[in-house]
């Protein structure tokens, strides 16, 4: 393809933007790419800018998978210097695509509460697992399921809503946990049975939780969410609650431990500032604040857990395929899932 045409448009657009004085791109900016759930209190970010003499330019790139795809697509001319939000489900893909800078940073030296493949430095972790609406089960006199297989039984027909693993990172994480626990073929048999039993599929977490979950007016009392969601329900409730209206349901094979990390982007600029940012994400202030902002547990071992997490017990067991399998078969699994569940 003749690049001449494109560079003509580039020049035109660049000129237009410069004339209008609208370009925000500044060589001194540290460009941070995050998923859209990234929340760090503004005063902390301002302090970081002051301490390090850089301006942060944070861009939110959508869901974790979508964000990584943007990074892969712009590999030749990266749109960020440092990236936060790649988790262990997407790490193999990021490593295979070679979008991360492989040199290590200081924070990588300290032993974290949950590991991630290098060069990703763990920042936080959480558990993707089933949540259920306590009131619905009490009112309808249905026993809470004991195993994942229960969900394929007639008694639990049309009760479960999951996110599409093709469009949602919790959806993908949940699919991985079933494959990790049962093995590929059995897992897809299970999904076929779920489909036959009236499984509901939503595009992303928001649609599943706010339009399909019975707690919020939908008709499905079991939803794929996080182990910390019940704690957030108490934290964000209208009235003071002594216990959450929902609970997590950490069935064997239905728990995926998600470890989110930060890393330098290959070909990025601002090396010293980028390394400082990695360290910043592991600083006690950020590690404390993000717990009730992003509803994840801190990766820095010495940091105390938020009080709200007394309603969010950590699951004792979790499943996942090996990193090598995720890297080799991840996208095939999603394609197979689409065939088995949607088509």
């Amino acid at each position: 393809m003749p690049h001449g045409i494109f560079s003509f448009f580039k020049t035109t657009l660049g000129a237009a933007l410069l004339t209008a004085g609208l370009t925000a791109a500044n060589a001194a900016d540290l460009r941070v790419l995050t998923h859209s759930s990234f929340t760090v209190p503004k005063p902390l970010l301002a302090q970081f800018e002051k301490d390090n003499g850089v301006k942060l330019r944070i861009t939110k790139g959508g869901d974790a998978g979508e964000m990584l795809n943007k990074l892969i697509l712009t590999k030749a001319n990266p749109i960020a210097d440092v990236v936060y939000g790649i988790d262990n489900a997407f790490a193999p893909k990021a490593l295979a695509a070679g979008v991360l800078d492989t040199s290590t940073t200081a924070a990588a030296g300290r032993k974290p509460a949950a590991e991630l493949p290098a060069p990703l430095v763990p920042v936080d972790y959480g558990y993707v697992t089933l949540n259920y609406d306590k009131a619905w089960f009490a009112k309808n006199g249905v026993a809470v399921p004991k195993t994942l297989d229960d969900l394929t039984q007639p008694a639990y027909a049309k009760l479960l809503v999951v996110q599409n693993p093709a469009t949602s990172s919790p959806g993908y994480a949940f699919l991985l946990s079933t494959i990790g626990a049962m093995g590929e073929d059995k897992a897809f048999d299970f999904w076929a049975k779920l489909r036959a039993n009236g499984l509901k599929v939503a595009k992303g977490w928001t649609e599943a939780y706010y339009t399909e979950f019975s707690q919020n007016g939908g008709k499905h009392p079991i939803v794929v969410s996080y182990a910390t969601s019940p704690a957030a329900e108490v934290f964000y409730s209208k009235t003071k609650l002594s216990e959450p209206p929902t609970a997590s349901l950490s069935l064997p094979g239905a728990v995926f431990r998600q470890v989110e990390g930060v890393a330098l982007v290959k070909g990025g600029k601002q090396r010293p500032a980028a390394e400082k940012f990695v360290e910043f994400m592991r600083s006690p202030a950020v590690q404390t604040a993000m717990q009730t902002d992003m509803w994840m547990y801190p990766a820095e071992a010495g940091v105390a857990k938020a009080d709200a997490f007394r309603f969010a017990p950590e699951p004792t067991a979790f499943n996942a395929p090996s990193d090598a399998d995720i890297a080799a078969k991840g996208s095939d699994w999603v394609a197979r899932w689409t065939k088995v569940v949607l088509k």
Binding site: G62, I79, V201, E207, G218, K219, E233, Y236, S331
Partner: protein
């Protein structure tokens, strides 16, 4: 065009000034839309053009996209035309308020609207509470959502069109013994058909290439081809497959847009100075018609919004506290700022495009390009083509303007078609220069249409969320992104805050509408 007999020399289609006018929107489209989309397709490499039709899954998606758009068009015409007739022909208290109220759905973000629709027709919705069926998981939910968003497009077009019908011709038909129905069919219908065709075309394009609504209301089972493209590009990075699918979408919608532009040009007639006067709604029949119109409006347009307002009202003091947060003020400021900038850019582009596209069919068709090309293809293409501009303010405003400007162009173009030629001729024969003619004659005549287009564009910008497909930045959070942010966390307060913010957004959009359209009094195109 039998009755277009200008004594003045017709403007040559491709004089230099035309080229200069056309260059503005064409360059804009090339830089922010065509080049990025093409760049992404190049990245995807070659794929079999027939693949989407051979794969039963993708074929189903394409056919369902067509079917739901066509069904919506039928429903909208069936319900909207009688409503338009009542609003155009009858006078009753609250008429202009109702006309404005029709615009409300247009500015509600998709997810919020979907929540409203579910609050009506979902498992715990009003319909189910009154013993009706629960429509969740059926295609009806998506069709109702389409109807909610698109009814106003047709009703407004019908009102405008009916105001253009010549009173003398209707009166002549009646005095020659035609029944009201026959007069409508033989005199009014031919006059309003191009307007309705234009509106239906828009409705079709919206529904066919719409994607947020189909995702939430259609669920995965009734997702459209546009949804599939989004998934393929953003999540699976299958650029080749996505490109082929989007080429097919482009061909199908392009055919509709081209057909529409042809029809509209052929049917375009100069406006009548003697529009039919509205009569007061008197008598049982006319009053029932008014009540039915209000009733349909409440059922289709207002009910989902009332459901949200109701939710916000009972969401408690904590949720309302969101209004005092700094983030909300910032979002409000951003929404206003981006909308204003986008509106200025969209107006310049839209007017230039409309003026340049007179009598040039392919240019008229190009107005629809921003609706036709998949936004996700454009967004990822922009990233690939101008990585250094990603997340820059210019790209953001350009993206807003790209999605808003067709409204201005379309509205102005329709009005240009129906401009009475003799005003201009009179001005020219009295010695006015062409520029003076434009400034003193054409522009005042265009003003109501321009205001209409700008009002639509402003409403689009205020409620815009497609920009999040581009890279967004925390300091650029708008009301819509703030709503989605709250909906991204569990907890009753977050849901309540989202509903409160949705109410603020509706209020803001309504304000934009009132401010822009108010000088037009009745707001119709009869200047």
């Amino acid at each position: 065009m039998a009755f277009e007999t200008p004594r003045l020399k017709r403007p040559r289609p491709w004089a230099w000034d035309r080229w200069a006018l056309a260059a503005v929107p064409l360059l804009f489209l090339a830089v922010v839309l065509v080049a990025p989309a093409v760049r992404l397709m190049v990245e995807g490499g070659s794929a079999d053009l027939w693949a989407p039709w051979q794969d039963p899954y993708l074929r189903g998606r394409l056919l369902w996209s067509l079917a739901q758009a066509a069904m919506t068009c039928g429903l909208v015409l069936l319900i909207g035309l009688p409503m338009g007739w009542v609003l155009a022909r009858l006078d009753f208290p609250g008429r202009s308020l109702l006309l404005r109220g029709l615009m409300l759905p247009f500015v509600v973000p998709t997810l919020v609207a979907a929540m409203g629709v579910l609050a009506l027709m979902g498992p715990r919705g009003l319909l189910a509470q009154w013993g009706g069926p629960d429509l969740q998981g059926t295609p009806w939910l998506l069709l109702f959502g389409n109807l909610f968003f698109n009814l106003c497009v047709l009703v407004r077009a019908a009102v405008d069109a009916l105001s253009q019908v010549s009173a003398a011709r209707v009166a002549a038909a009646r005095s020659l013994g035609a029944t009201p129905w026959r007069a409508f069919w033989r005199v009014e219908w031919p006059a309003i058909a191009p307007w309705l065709a234009s509106a239906l075309c828009l409705v079709f394009l919206y529904c066919f290439s719409g994607f947020g609504l189909a995702l939430v209301l259609g669920g995965q089972a009734y997702a459209t081809a546009e949804v599939e493209i989004y998934t393929l590009v953003a999540h699976e990075l299958q650029l080749g497959q996505a490109s082929v699918l989007s080429v097919w979408m482009l061909l199908l919608t392009g055919a509709v847009a081209l057909g529409y532009a042809t029809v509209e040009r052929r049917l375009a007639t100069p406006a009548r100075a003697d529009g039919v006067l509205r009569r007061p709604a008197r008598g049982v029949v006319l009053w029932s018609a008014v009540m039915a119109t209000v009733g349909v409006w409440v059922l289709i347009c207002a009910a989902p919004l009332i459901a949200i307002a109701h939710g916000a009202m009972f969401s408690g003091a904590y949720a309302w506290g969101v209004l005092r947060e700094d983030d909300t003020l910032l979002a409000l400021y951003n929404t206003v700022r981006f909308s204003l900038l986008a509106l200025v850019l969209a107006t310049v582009l839209g007017v230039a495009h409309a003026l340049a596209a007179r009598r040039v069919l392919w240019l008229r068709t190009l107005v629809f390009l921003p609706f036709i090309v998949s936004p996700v293809m454009v967004a990822f293409g922009l990233l690939l083509l101008y990585p250094e501009a990603s997340g820059s303010f210019g790209v953001l405003v350009a993206a807003y303007a790209l999605l808003a400007y067709p409204f201005v162009a379309k509205s102005v173009a329709s009005r240009l078609d129906s401009l009475p030629a003799h005003y201009l001729e009179a001005a020219r024969s009295l010695g006015a220069s062409p520029w003076r003619c434009f400034w003193r004659v054409t522009l005042p005549l265009l003003a109501p249409a321009l205001r209409r287009g700008m009002a639509f564009a402003a409403a689009t910008a205020v409620g815009e969320f497609a920009v999040s497909l581009f890279l967004s930045r925390p300091e650029w959070a708008t009301l819509t992104t703030l709503i989605y942010q709250h909906l991204g966390k569990p907890g009753a307060v977050n849901l309540g805050a989202a509903q409160v913010l949705a109410c603020v957004l509706m209020g803001l959009a309504l304000l934009a509408f009132v401010l822009i359209e108010w000088p037009g009094k009745e707001g119709d195109a009869r200047a």
